[in-house]
Every structure is written in structure tokens, then in C-alpha cells.
Point group: C2
Chain length 453, copies 2
């Protein structure tokens, strides 16, 4: 090992990967540690769940992305501890191997997992949308529900299998609900003999009284109209108070309502990775309600200018948990480290450049806002297409993704509909035997084990 | 339900699917029942395992394939019993739903699973190559082994992680070994900092004294030379006597030898689906050593002209367990049923048209024989390419497969390298806790549960 400045980056999501790449020409050695072997393009997870894309298309290998960057090594591992005195992190890898890494600068970018707002028992019945595992689990449940409806003879059971509830009316929930509706109305009709997939009910549930609340009035209203046209029923002002195997219970102004539904999807809340707690304990830093570390204006932990927290784990200026914040804070942390190593003045406080936000409702229809400009319908969709292709990592993935979009948007097909037997067996074991706990199908572990000392 | 002749087809592999399609214009109602929702193009499983193709590309949904064939319904289910007196089959589906189907003609095409020749405990350490689950499990183990080698510091442990043993020198084993060698020598170099992937050892082990024994002397010798050029070590005349977590023990003429290897792959034997035993018990039919039902020359069960057995579950004229036999016997059964329903003379005894066999060794190199003609090298590979594209089901899959082949054969990439956390967790649970038995990662259940009354 050389005696260059050592940077350890924890997490290969948008934040960690962009920090790493921005250190390409810096005089430092970088170790990028991640709990999986892939970078995940989270904004397209819903397309894996609904059979449009393969998991490989949105999850390229981390080490392939940075292979030409000679000052980087990539290691598989979950970070289990941080010693801020000795400046080392501890990690473990799947084979039961423990290892330690020294750092001069540490960039913590372990992201967020789903939050059930204290109701973790909902997870088993309503998987989240945070990892490849989540998307494949939901793929199995969504396509499996139509299969089960075709077999059942009891009308109530058929109705339950054909009811899909998406909780959370932000972009993820809206896109998911839209794609399930397109499945039911465009892809699957003609493939069943006993049921009509067009009879499926798709509900979008949220406690707030509008969809896409962060997009503002006109776009929210437009999105709601488009969803209605697709057949999605928006149930707004509805607080989820119960989730079980057979359905969901919501609290509305006029009282409680039960919705029988076999498939529930949780796209509602996020909480910082459990690594945030480890970091808070090690540094004395404070966390906000979502468990995110409250950082200084330069994204460092108070009292520890050598430790940066970026992306979804960071609490700063009420910035939202979106890809652009992670990308920009990751690059900012790298620029600061580079300036310090070069003995140059560090950049000023982090300033977020809001490039806007967008969500697809269905094929050929999206809402997008950037600065004061707002776009809807086909123009919005073309913007969505361009931006997502631009940010997808790797030429190979762009090519095959375009192919699959061609199949799904110009045609009616969904090429990636496979469910593994392992998934079905695990689900059955949970349901009937109580053999497995939710640690298997539940959200992907962040780089720290769920149960820590 | 109409009062037309009812055909139940069990299994949507090459045999069952071709029987179903060949009944398109027959005056019958067909129910096609399968234990998964997909048809599986088994000959390309090794490309899913080695990161070239996505699982969706070789496993299209059964109901999509036959959606335009109006006399077919597709049901998800595992066949649990056959009542030859009442002419009904019993099945169950994942939600715990049991159902029965009446038949006038029954086509049993449940295929084969891996055989460990009485050593079923090998399965946990050496997964087979029969299902999507198998291929994804092996993908995780193969790419995971390089990750672990990069983390380890003990040279013996690194050597163990970088040793890959493929058991079985038939086409599946040869193709698998060749692709792992290409991974190590073409795709992965440059992506690691501590190890050199080119140091990986790939061994091909078999008790016979040649590779591809069914292809004949010249092609076997050519394949052996090509494998050696790729860096695959063929260990022939070596009987596997032990498989454990750390390696494999073989018996050679000169005595026993231990090979330390983290990754073991079983491509050696096949046994008929357990449904064959159910069928034998119900009908009194005899089974051969591999558990396959010995049928009459018209592929029917003795004493039951209404029950056909086709493909890998059938024992007839020492025909091999290959796709062409399944396709041709499936179509033959359909032709016989159609002739009977139409009151026409049934076709004569089944006659197999051997179209030849082929195996790829690496990109641009394959061996193929058809009739008296034999091809090797690039010409053999072009034939392999044409035949596999022709037999891949569906235009969409052909298009995206060509894209992925372009990436992998002209380039060096492997687009589909994702391992799920569920896989890693399941493997860890097996290794450390003994929590799960091999029923989760082991071969995909055939349409009958592994444990029957």
C-alpha cells in the first residue's frame, strides 16, 4: 500500500459512486466498499418489478464501472463499526470474513431503506421498493396474483388476487401504480381464459390529499387525471392503519375502510441506513427524525472534518432524498477532499442546484418540472426518456434498455417476467410455516447488519 | 366447459409445449399445467449462470407463447396425483389451492432433474444446471468467488476461491467450463486490484476418458484441444467420491486426489421427475434405472393408450435426453391424439430423426455433427448460433439475446451479473446455521412435490 491519502467510500449508490469518480484525478487511494456487487439505478426499480427490464440493466457491477480508474479498489462488505480515534472501519463479507480498513478521509453514503413508521410487521405483506430483491419479490407477487386469480373459483378470492394497493403517492408509488394498470390493460389481456385482467383494481393510497405533492398544484392535478384515465383509483387522505395477508385497512375522514387485496406495495417512507446510528454513536453527531445525520454546511460530521455524509443518509437544509442530491453531495465531498490534499482552499458551503423532478404516469405520458418550466404528457415523457438514458450507467445497459423499452412502450410486451422457485418457496415458508423471518424477503440489508450489538 | 375431447398436458418444457402447439387445429380442449410460469430454454442456462443473458431471455411466460391458441388454457400448479380410473389429475398451486382436472388424453412431459447418483448431499455444495434457480444460484457463486478472493489474504483461501470444478463432460459441462474460463481470461481482468482473475483454475471432471463422449472421436479430441487452449484442465477417468464445502475428492487409476475448490457445479447425471414414480404406481408401468417410464413404441403407457409420456421422462429405444427427442415425441403424441379424435388411422410407431448435436467451447468455436457431417471451430459456431436463434422462443427474446451476444462475444462484457441478497442470505444460513435444508437452493421442483405420501 502506498502512503498516499486514503479515502474510504461506504456505499456505491449515486452518492458514493459519484464521490469515487470525482476522485479519479486526485492524489489519493480510494477504497469503495459496498454491501452488494452492484450499483443500483433505483429510479427504474419499478420497471424490474413490472417485467419491463432485467435486474442486470439497472444494476451494473460496481467494479466494472470504475475499472479504468486506477486509484480505486472495490470491496464487497457490510460496514459493522467505525473507530473515529484510530480512523478505521470494520467490515464483514459473506464468507464470514472480517476485515478492517484505515482511512484519512471517510465518505459515508449508505443510503436509506424503507420505513414503515414503526410498523415493521407491515413489511412481510407489503414489500418496499429499495433493492433488486424488493423488485424481484414484487415481480413475483404481481404476476403471481394474476396466475392465482386464474386458478381460483371463489369470486371473493379472485377479487382479492386482482386488487393491487400501492401505498405512497410520490413518484415511486405513482410510477408503480401506472405500470400495474398498464400491465392489466395492455399486456395481459388475451393471455387468460377464465379471468379478464382488465378487471384488476389498482389503488394508490396516501395520507396526503394529492398525488406527487412535491410537484405542485398543476402537475399534481394533471397526474391525477392521467392516473384516473389509466384506471388507477387514487384514495387520498387515507392513513394506513393495518396491513395483513388479505388486505389493508385505512383511516379516512369518514371512518375506517377495509380493502381486500392480495398484493400490497409500500412506497411510502424512508429511513436512513442503520449505519447512521453507528456513526452517530461513534461521533456524537445528531440524527433527524428519519435517522439521517445532521451535517455541517460542508457535509461533514460536527467535530470530524475528515468524515463526510452524503446522499440519503445526510440531513442538510431540508434537502429531499433524491438522486440529484446524492450525486451533487458526493461530488462536493470529493472536491473538498481533493482541495485539502492539494493544499488548496476548500469550496464554500454545499449549494444544491435543483435540476427539477419528473415522474412517468404511463407510456408516452409524464410530468416534469425544471425551474419555472413545467411539462406534461408526451413532451414530459420525452424528457423523462432522455434524462433516464443519460443517467443510466454504461453503454451496454443503455442499448439493451432501449430494446426493452421498444418492446414495452411501442409493443405490449414484458420480456422479464421470471419468478424463481426460491422466491415462491420463501413466501410459502413465511405464510404457512413461520419458518423464516422477514430478513430474507425484506429490504436489502444496508452496509450494516440489522441487529447490531 | 365444452364436451370436446379434453387433453391435459403436464409440463411446459420442449415436450409439453410442442405437444400443445401441435394441437392448435385439433378439435380438442387443452389444459397445459406447469410448476412455473415460464417455459425454459435449458440449453442456454449456462449463459444465465455466467452473466451473458438475463433469465427472462431464456424463460418466456408460457401463457404468452400460446396466447393466440384459443383451445389452450395455462394453469400454474404441481401435479400431485393421477387417478387413471376416474381419469383426473390432482394439482396444487402456491397459495395452498388444490384442484383437479379431468382428461380424456394425458400427455406427461415433466422432464428430468439432476441426479447425484445416490449422493444427494452433494447438491448443497455442487448445484445442478436444470432450472432458472440453479443458474442464478451458480451466477452468485461464480461471481461471488472472485469477490471473496479479492478480500481474502490467506493464499490457500484465495486459491480455493479461484478454483472452479465442473463435474460432467457432456455438452452442459463443457459449455459451462468454457464460459468460466472466458470470464476469467477475457471479462474480469482489469477489474480487480489484489488478484489476477487469470490465475483462476477451471477443471472439468468426468469418470469417462473423453469429453463429449457422444460426439465421437474426432470432435471429442478437437473439443479437448480447444478447452486446453482456453485454459480448462480436463481431469478424465476421475470418479467423484466426495463433495464438501471446501472442495472435491476424485478417484483416479493411481488413487484418490483432493481438489480444493470453493465453487463446484454438477452437470453429470439426470433422473426423471418424481412424477414418473407417481405415474408408475398409478399405472403399473415399469421405470428404467434413471426412473424414466418405459413406454410402448407409440409413446403410451402399457395398458393405457390414453396416457402419453414424452421427452426426458420417457424411456424408449435408448433415445438420449435431448431437446430434439422431447420436441419430436411431443409433436408425435399430439398427432396421435388428433388422428384418434378425427377418427383417422394413428401414425406408425415413433421414429426419431436425429438432427445431430452441438456444443460451444468458447466464442467463435463449437463442435457440431449432423448426420455424417462434422463441423468444428468458427463454422461450427455459426451453426450453433443459427440453430439456437431459430429455436429460441419469441421475437422479443431473439432480439435482446442477439444484443447480449454482441456485448459478450464481440466485446468482453457480461451484462447480467446481479446476485440477490436473498441468495447470499440463504447460502449463509445453510453454511453457518443449518437453518434451511437444500430444498430452497436445490433443483427446481418438478410438477410433483419432493416428499410425496
Amino acid at each position: 500500500m502506498s502512503d498516499r491519502h486514503r479515502v474510504v467510500v461506504v456505499g456505491a449508490g449515486f452518492g458514493g459512486l459519484n464521490a469515487t469518480k470525482a476522485l479519479a484525478r486526485a492524489d489519493v487511494d480510494v477504497t469503495l466498499i459496498n454491501s452488494t456487487t452492484h450499483h443500483l439505478f433505483q429510479p427504474l426499480l419499478y420497471q424490474v418489478a413490472t417485467g419491463i427490464l432485467s435486474e442486470g440493466e439497472i444494476a451494473p457491477p460496481v467494479r466494472e464501472i470504475v475499472k479504468r480508474q486506477e486509484n480505486v479498489e472495490v470491496l464487497l462488505g457490510q460496514v459493522t463499526g467505525i473507530d473515529v480515534g484510530k480512523r478505521t472501519i470494520s467490515a464483514n463479507a459473506p464468507g464470514g470474513i472480517d476485515y478492517q480498513l484505515p482511512y484519512d478521509s471517510l465518505v459515508v453514503a449508505a443510503g436509506a431503506s424503507q420505513s414503515y413508521f414503526g410498523n415493521d410487521h407491515f413489511a412481510q405483506h407489503a414489500p418496499g421498493m429499495k433493492s433488486v430483491d424488493d423488485a424481484l419479490e414484487l415481480r413475483g407477487r404481481i404476476f403471481g396474483a394474476f396466475e392465482m386469480a386464474e386458478i381460483e373459483t371463489d369470486p371473493a378470492a379472485i377479487g382479492r388476487w386482482l386488487t393491487f394497493v400501492v401505498v405512497g403517492a410520490g413518484p415511486t408509488g405513482v410510477e408503480m401504480a401506472g405500470q400495474i394498470a398498464e400491465l392489466a390493460h395492455r399486456t395481459l389481456p388475451g393471455q387468460y381464459r377464465r379471468i379478464d385482467p382488465r378487471q384488476a383494481r389498482v389503488l394508490l393510497v396516501d395520507a396526503v390529499d394529492t398525488v406527487l405533492p412535491t410537484f405542485g398544484g398543476r402537475l399534481s392535478a394533471q397526474a391525477l387525471r392521467q392516473l384516473a384515465k389509466l384506471g388507477v383509483e387514487a384514495k387520498l387522505g387515507a392513513k394506513v392503519v393495518g396491513v395483513d395477508e388479505g388486505g389493508i385497512t385505512v383511516e379516512l375522514a369518514q371512518g375506517r375502510e377495509r380493502i381486500d387485496a392480495a398484493t400490497k406495495i409500500w412506497a411510502a417512507g424512508v429511513a436512513a441506513s442503520p449505519l447512521a446510528r453507528t456513526l452517530a454513536e461513534a461521533t456524537g453527531a445528531e440524527a433527524d427524525r428519519a435517522g439521517r445525520i445532521m451535517v455541517r454546511p460542508d457535509c461533514t460530521v460536527p467535530g470530524h472534518p475528515e468524515i463526510f455524509v452524503v446522499g440519503d443518509m445526510m440531513s442538510l437544509d431540508r434537502l429531499p432524498g433524491v438522486a440529484q442530491v446524492a450525486i451533487q453531495t458526493g461530488r462536493y465531498a470529493a472536491a473538498t477532499i481533493r482541495a485539502r490534499v492539494d493544499g488548496k482552499p476548500a469550496p464554500g458551503p454545499f449549494a444544491y442546484h435543483d435540476k427539477g423532478s419528473m415522474a412517468t404516469i404511463s407510456r408516452f405520458s409524464a410530468v416534469a418540472s425544471t425551474g419555472k418550466l413545467q411539462f406534461t404528457g408526451f413532451v414530459g415523457w420525452l424528457m423523462w426518456l432522455a434524462v433516464h438514458l443519460m443517467y443510466l450507467v454504461g453503454f451496454k445497459n443503455r442499448m439493451s434498455t432501449v430494446g426493452h423499452w421498444f418492446v414495452s412502450f411501442l409493443g405490449r410486451g414484458r420480456s422479464e417476467r421470471v419468478t424463481t422457485t426460491q422466491q415462491v418457496v420463501a413466501r410459502e415458508a413465511i405464510r404457512h410455516l413461520g419458518l423464516l423471518d422477514t430478513s430474507i424477503p425484506a429490504p436489502e440489508p444496508s452496509p450494516v447488519p440489522a441487529s447490531r450489538p
